[in-house]
């Protein structure tokens, strides 16, 4: 009886049923709030682009509600897609992107494998060096690189500046270090015993790479591929500096230089061109999204 009395007189503790789920609910509410905010922030420009791309020049310059299309038209799309110039930019961009991605993969995969697995003198320093290279911004590099290509042209007579294919030599300076770095991380997360088992099974280093590492690290390779593609598709500074003739331009620079004449901005076509230019990376993202996320998070936890 006495214990009962003490219980009654003591402070009453409120029993929280399902406190975990209540906390979780609040966390989710905040998450939704910030995610919505972020989504609105990042979706406004593309939505504005779509709206503008469906307007005629007259409607764009008229003082109507900019967020509404009163007379939708596909004239901007038809003009661009039938323009040889625009198709040329698209073709140049596609060629550069495909070749750069191929070169990047051919260099990065063996490099990452060697740095992650084949212990040799200075491999750790080299791996850090690769990453440090990536930290140097392209805005610092373009002048010395321009000078190098100019010297190369003087010495050999081979003109690379103002040719679309000069970008094939330039972009890997951006893509190779980063792709190598993320693949070093991915390869390092593969258990050491796997390559030892392959070596005992009779595989050479190359066979271990091609038959074990590449299939196992496929998500990482896809992540690296998407990165390399995005960089080479969207890079603006290098093509702006290194290419000037209209037939040598790639999409990002082409749109800006040909659709802005003096102080006249052809907004409808600029927006349409930008949207069409964004389509290939978007399509690739959509198809490879699952792999991309798996690739970026791999190695974060012990699998």
């Amino acid at each position: 009886m006495s214990t009962l009395a003490i219980d009654k007189s003591g402070p009453r503790r409120k029993v929280k049923y399902g406190s975990m789920s209540r906390e979780r609910a609040w966390a989710l509410r905040w998450s939704y709030f910030f995610l919505t905010l972020f989504a609105v922030f990042s979706l406004v420009p593309p939505i504005y682009m779509i709206i503008t791309s469906l307007k005629s020049s007259a409607e764009i310059s008229a003082a109507t509600n900019p967020w509404w299309v009163f007379h939708p038209t596909l004239v901007n799309y038809i003009t661009l897609l039938t323009s040889n110039q625009f198709l040329r930019f698209f073709w140049n961009s596609a060629m550069v992107a495909i070749i750069v991605v191929t070169i990047t993969m051919l260099v990065s995969i063996p490099a990452a494998f060697a740095l992650a697995r084949m212990k040799f003198w200075g491999s750790a320093t080299l791996a850090t060096g690769v990453f440090l290279t990536y930290l140097i911004p392209d805005s610092l590099l373009f002048i010395p690189l321009f000078k190098m290509f100019a010297l190369f042209s003087d010495w050999t007579g081979i003109q690379l500046i103002n040719r679309w294919y000069v970008l094939i030599f330039l972009y890997p300076t951006l893509t190779v270090p980063f792709c190598t770095w993320i693949m070093i991380g991915y390869f390092a997360s593969i258990p050491k015993e796997l390559d030892e088992a392959a070596i005992i099974d009779g595989a050479s280093w190359l066979q271990t790479l091609t038959r074990i590492f590449i299939p196992v690290a496929l998500p990482g390779l896809i992540a690296a591929t998407i990165f390399a593609f995005t960089v080479s598709w969207a890079q603006f500074l290098y093509p702006m500096v290194f290419t000037t003739s209209t037939d040598q331009l790639v999409l990002p620079v082409g749109i800006v230089t040909t659709l802005i004449k003096g102080d006249v901005f052809n907004w409808g076509q600029i927006m349409t061109g930008a949207l069409l230019g964004a389509a290939p990376p978007l399509i690739i993202y959509a198809f490879l999204m699952d792999y991309y996320i798996a690739g970026l998070t791999a190695g974060a936890t012990k699998g």
Binding site: L194, E196, I199, I200, D201, G202, Q207
Partner: protein, 366 residues
């Protein structure tokens, strides 16, 4: 199939000597287990035999040929790893046949070898599955299958059962033994589990701090340990060690454990230890099964003493009893019906015929 020999093999990592000049001869068809605590150099030794680690000094021979500079793929060995190391993107059949496919064996032969190994390991139904669809035990079977199909000269096992639960470990232990009985391939097996070592091995190699402490059959190691380390490592619960002194009384050789406990040595023991200097610091070594409850009829060499039980651990078929002698905890094994109770006095019998006497300084069994 082949014999394996190690001659003064040394492995150095910078200034640290992980393996310190070991000599070992493993006969053809033999199943040898390297056992010892973490960091004793057993896995390093196995990896040197496999060729996954370079040796710093000495020679390793497989089938009579020195293989120091032979790459792993040319040593004709197969290895089973602790974490299975199955190729995750390949099916069971592809995993097992990977080595044969690399060596460009005819397809028909690969198929028949894989089928035969799968039958032996009872994994025929799993042959088209990927590793992630298998349980731990099944994965370990596939890893063994991958070794068997190659029909190598030597099997190397690196703690293959450590990732399995206790029940499965016992089951797989029996499987491994059965497989060895069938294929009779020379096997080197590394484990830190002395029970695995005792149950599987033809001969056990006990390693400690990069050296071999003792090589022998499981029974030899258990009954005639050479050092305190081996005596303490082999057997569970471990052997008891109590500081003691030899003294002579009435023309007999006695062993004194405490001020009030001293036993006359049985004649064979007395003869064996007659020449041990009396001033030597000694340890009395006795296994728990040789300390039991006192029974009415004591055989020769069995002495009794009274003590107070600190802790009892009922195991079902026996009860482990713990008590203290001069500050040293001692374990014995009593019949569950003997009535040993914690905190209560109890009369125990010690069988001195099975005692060991050790030099406390050197740890050598005398």
């Amino acid at each position: 199939m082949a014999d394996v020999s190690l001659r003064k093999v040394v492995k150095r990592y910078d200034d640290v000597e992980a393996v310190r000049g070991i000599d070992l001869d493993i006969a053809d068809h033999e199943f040898v287990v390297l056992v010892g605590p973490s960091g004793c150099g057993k896995s390093t030794t196995l990896r040197m035999i496999a060729g996954l680690e370079d040796i710093s000094d000495g020679d390793i021979m497989i089938g009579g040929d020195v293989v120091n500079d032979v790459p792993p793929k040319d040593r004709d060995i197969a290895m089973v790893f602790q974490n299975y190391a199955l190729y995750p993107h390949m099916t069971v059949a592809e995993n097992m046949s990977f080595g044969l496919r690399l060596k460009r064996y005819p397809k028909a032969e690969i198929k028949s070898r894989v089928a035969e190994a799968a039958r032996m390991l009872d994994i025929t139904d799993l042959i088209d599955r990927k590793p992630k669809q298998l349980s731990g035990g099944q994965r370990q079977r596939v890893a063994m299958g991958r070794a068997i199909v190659r029909n190598p000269k030597v099997f190397l096992f690196d703690e293959p059962l450590s990732n399995l639960d206790a029940k499965l470990r016992v089951q797989m232990r029996i499987e491994i033994k059965k497989v060895h009985q069938k294929v009779r391939t020379t096997t080197v097996y590394v484990t830190h589990d002395q029970v695995e070592a005792m149950t599987l091995a033809d001969r056990v190699v006990v390693m400690n701090r990069g050296r071999i402490e003792q090589i022998g059959t499981p029974n030899e190691l258990y009954h005639k340990p050479a050092t305190r380390f081996v005596a303490g490592f082999i057997g569970s619960p471990a052997m008891n060690f109590v500081p003691c002194q030899l003294e002579e009384a009435d023309g007999k050789l006695n062993i004194r454990l405490t001020d009030r406990i001293a036993f006359p040595l049985p004649l064979p023991c007395a003869a064996r230890y007659q020449n041990v200097p009396r001033s030597e610091k000694l340890l009395f070594g006795i296994r728990p099964e040789h300390i039991t409850e006192a029974r009415p009829h004591l055989g020769p060499g069995v002495e009794t003493f009274d003590t107070v039980i600190d802790v009892t651990e009922p195991m079902g078929m026996e009860t482990l009893i713990y008590f203290t002698l001069e500050g040293t905890q001692v374990c014995g094994r009593a019949n569950p019906g003997a009535g040993a109770r914690e905190g209560a006095p109890f009369r125990l019998a010690v069988d001195l015929n099975n005692m060991h006497l050790l030099n406390e300084g050197t740890g050598i069994v005398l």
